[in-house]
Assembly symmetry: C2
Homo-oligomer: 142 residues x 2
């Protein structure tokens, strides 16, 4: 999806849920499209120069609201939560050494769930988490 289309989709989704389209929300969406699984802190620091009046609390509030609206996903693998846009389905690799988080394309992993799982759970999302060493950290042990 082209970026401008995506912003339009997000704006539409916010309105659907009865929310307001604010410059803070749009700005944070744009940062999420630029950075790779940023934390709230990273988003805030990235925006400070261009948006000096932005409050750190607003970053948290906004991430929380957008998450509630289903616009983004939250991961708490490390100390701080990391965020990404929810529009794509993919898996993740976590480096045990540097703590880095990488996207793994959906097409690289096939998952098959036994049918009986659906008798016990209403499954909305299936995601694979791979743990190990990334290329940068390989060859040095854990």
């Amino acid at each position: 999806m082209k970026k401008d289309n995506l912003i339009d989709v997000v704006m539409e989704k916010i309105k659907e849920k009865g929310g307001r389209v604010t410059i803070q929300r749009l700005a944070i969406i744009n940062v999420l499209l630029k950075l790779d699984h940023p934390t709230a802190e990273e988003i805030y620091q990235f925006m400070r120069n261009e948006f000096p009046t932005l409050s750190f609390t607003t970053v948290y509030n906004t991430l929380h609201s957008l998450h509630e609206m289903g616009i983004l996903r939250e991961y708490r693998f490390g100390e701080a939560s990391r965020f990404e846009m929810a529009e794509t389905n993919h898996h993740h690799f976590l480096c045990q050494k540097c703590g880095g988080m990488k996207d793994i394309e959906d097409s690289n992993i096939t998952v098959h769930l036994d049918e009986k799982l659906s008798r016990h759970y209403h499954i909305l999302n299936t995601e694979v988490v791979l743990k190990g060493l990334c290329q940068d950290c390989m060859g040095e042990g854990i």
Copy 2:
């Protein structure tokens, strides 16, 4: 694996890594065998009666050490970290409503990784995370 054997294996593993087998460590291992993905807080509260001199800090220290030794796994899906013994391989279901975490037997899910992933990553562990509603929370929406 029988419980006593498992304790022996854990003791051996601690010694291998140059660690000391303390009553605190053994007691916490035993709690991990009883409780389902407990948090540090839950472990501490569970132990207070029988072990009133136990320090909360020791729970954290111990969980950290045992994790470093590969004896247990840590998950940070919610606010607080949750822990489980590392001896078994299985997947997890996370309830989006109550925040509960359930084990899914390995045999209920098959995962196939594209070979080319191993060219970019040294993969040590593969785990599926299912998200949705558990039986208790079904029929009430999110």
